[in-house]
Amino acid sequence: MARLFDIRILTIAGSLLCLILGLAFPWSKTPIIVGLCFGIATLGVAAMVRAGQVSFGHAMYACIAGYTVAFLARAWPQLDGLLLILAGVGASLFAGAIVGVFVVRYRGIFFGMLNLAISMVLYSVIGKFYAITGGTDGLRINRPTLLGIEFERAGFETVLLVGTLLAAIGLGILVQRYFQSASGEALAGIKTNETRLEYLGLSARRVLWDGYLFSAGLVGLSGALFALVQGLVTPDIGSWLRSGEFVFIAILGGSGHAIGAFLGAAVFELVKLFAAAYMTGIWQMLLGITLIVVILVAPEGIVGLLMKKSALATPRRKSPWGTRREENKWTP
């Protein structure tokens, strides 16, 4: 219970901080929403990390949802923002379901590479069909109504901030429940032993497909929100670097608990904001150094560090990738 209690406090404190900062400094609403979006996407990627699979193409679901929002909003400007978001998530779930059928057959590097390849195809095609997609400059989205109400920029951002925050908390709880459910624990079993899963009468591919669908939906939601808050979608939201950033944040935050995704995203955004304001030109270097320090000092991420401090933490071996030079090794 002590651990849960800590995380609750952390969640409440973090949420209050988001709200207070957002209301006190209007400019900070967008970075906070963006940070929460990154957190939501990372929740999805973290689910894959728990299964020992690292995808370098998950940003494609943000891209699919974002472009769905943009296409719909441009075709029917009267559509409500909430509907647009739902449609975006629906599209990413649909794509995830189909792509999932193929990628769940792959593990380790090939899982990462196949996702990467598919996302790169999408990325290049979107960048190329200028007439339809606006090419690399993307598509602008006019501010839609939210729940039937038309907002000015400030009001729109406040509603999005509150909405995204609530979604983040809700999804965080939901994903944490999923992690601890039979299905979620079986998903983590893919990392360590698929043979056993099969000999328990379970289909490892099906378990992974479920998780994949989850993650596609989460990344999709983040993409839809991101598109709305930016008022713009570009192919860059689906680039491999963005996928890499999600993995980066997942490792930074740690996949031991759903809150890690948000802690990681917060650190990531803060480093970027700090660099943008005070150390223009070397923000990538700062991010790189942060990542190396985290990997060397706390390979289980910020959550791992916090859990180590709390006495009742369940120990978890640090091993998010299937092919490990140890037990259960594939041999010729």
Partner: protein
């Protein structure tokens, strides 16, 4: 226990918020009182491929502001620049933009280089009621689609540039039959080609477009495109590319003799010439997106211009390129706009709204001929183009056979849409006596 936690948390949060407000809060200004300084936000690329423009422009801004402040500033108020990197991407740019406006009390922004970024910041500037001077981006659509109160552009737009390029091409080589284009695959490459093609079809309908190639932005290799162009043998090859892409294309085309068989038209190549050096052959039509050049036929010996070029060279070890001139133009316009508004305000320091009003209709002179900002916020900047020639004293080809096309002749009039307007152009425009040609 729990209560304590929450309480101390609240206390801590309260302190944090209070602290941060102190950190970011701007001193409130009484209407009409002279501020201690004029904070000027400038967005420019310090990272990414477009930093070939952003970095020299930043150096120019620093140089100009130093001198300007030393000479007393605007009515005694000094300019303090705050630079923002556009290379961070649209979302981070917008965040920074709003941070400096809403927290640091910046009232005037110079933004942006990228047309995409101009599209992002313009509506935000209007919402925040901050004067936004688009100092380098070329998209003409922005000011045609909507009338802005707080957004102006101090230089020409893509239509002015492309129509002037067609004019130069048709006046120097009236009889070509085929043309091919190799542009970067993004909005500028696509849109500039559309304007160019429509203009060309209006002025010389018999030209055949034999290839439209759009290699991806940042492509490292154009071998295949060059082979295809060699097979097609077009009379003219247009490329509005810039930066590393243009350098690579020119270099590979030159290495393979393509520049001997076709006439190249490179409207942005002035900014690459010094880098390319001997790799840029003679006889290429190049432009500079405006009425400025360090060897400007009318202004090269003007003391102000000459002194600037020398100082800039001493500072950066290179000749000024077009974004440098655009930066100076924007800064000059901001200074002049303030002075105009102060005069209109009976010597009192003006509100941002008054300055924005004064910017519309302002006529100012940076390092170019005078530029007038129209009532729709669009600047009328004449266009200078020329042909490359090697000349003693320069390690790279410079422009000769220069021509200056007056802006109002080749810019969409207020209230009209460019795609329709360029189609109404008549070949008579080529005969205008207002187009000045400088032999040599």
């Amino acid at each position: 226990m729990k209560g304590n936690h929450v309480k101390s948390l609240h206390a801590r949060l309260g302190a944090l918020v209070a602290g941060m407000s102190l950190l970011f809060a701007a001193p409130a200004l009484a209407q009409g009182a002279k501020p201690a300084e004029l904070k000027l936000g400038i967005t420019t690329f310090s990272s990414g491929p477009a930093s070939v423009f952003g970095v020299p422009a930043k150096a120019a801004a620093e140089q100009w502001i130093e001198e300007f402040n030393a000479a007393g500033g605007i009515n005694g108020v000094k300019i303090t620049p705050v630079f923002i990197d556009e290379g961070l991407g649209g979302d981070k740019l917008l965040t920074e933009y709003r941070r400096v406006v809403q927290e640091q009390g910046v009232k005037v922004m110079l933004s942006a280089i990228s047309s995409g970024n101009c599209n992002i910041v313009a509506p935000v500037a209007e919402d925040l009621k901050v004067l936004n001077v688009m100092w380098d981006c070329g998209t003409e659509k922005l000011l045609e689609d909507r009338r802005y109160k707080y957004v102006v552009r101090t230089q020409a737009n893509a239509v002015t540039e492309m129509v002037a390029t067609v004019v130069y091409l048709l006046k120097t080589k009236p009889d070509f039959k085929t043309i091919a284009v190799v542009n970067q695959d993004y909005a500028w490459g696509r849109d500039s080609w559309e304007i160019f093609r429509n203009t060309l079809q209006a002025l010389k309908p018999d030209v055949k477009v034999v290839a439209e190639l759009f290699p991806k932005f940042g492509a490292p290799d154009f071998s295949t495109e060059i082979s295809r162009l060699q097979a097609l043998k077009p009379d003219v090859i247009l490329s509005t590319s810039w930066g590393g892409d243009l350098d690579t294309f020119v270099r590979q085309a030159g290495q393979r003799g393509l520049m001997k068989s076709s006439l190249f038209v490179l409207p942005l190549a002035e900014s690459s010439a010094e880098r390319l050096g001997a790799a840029l052959p003679e006889g290429v039509i190049i432009g500079a997106r405006g009425d400025h050049y360090f060897l400007h036929p009318e202004l090269k010996d003007e003391p102000k211009h000459k002194a600037f070029v020398e100082k800039f060279r001493a500072r950066t070890r290179s000749y000024p390129i077009y974004p440098v001139y655009h930066m100076v133009a924007a800064l000059q316009a901001v200074a002049d706009g303030h002075n105009k508004a102060i005069k209109a305000n009976k010597g009192q320091w003006p509100s941002t709204e008054q300055v924005a009003g004064a910017m519309h209709g302002l006529e100012f002179k940076g390092l170019t001929r005078a530029v007038k900002i129209r009532e729709d916020g669009q600047g009328l900047e004449d266009q200078l183009l020329g042909m490359t020639r090697n000349r003693a004293g320069y390690a790279f080809p410079v422009m000769e056979n220069m021509m200056i096309v007056p802006a109002d002749l080749v810019t969409t009039p207020v209230g009209q849409k460019s795609p329709e307007w360029v189609k109404t152009l008549k070949p008579d425009v080529l005969k205008s006596d207002r187009i000045k040609v400088y032999a040599k």
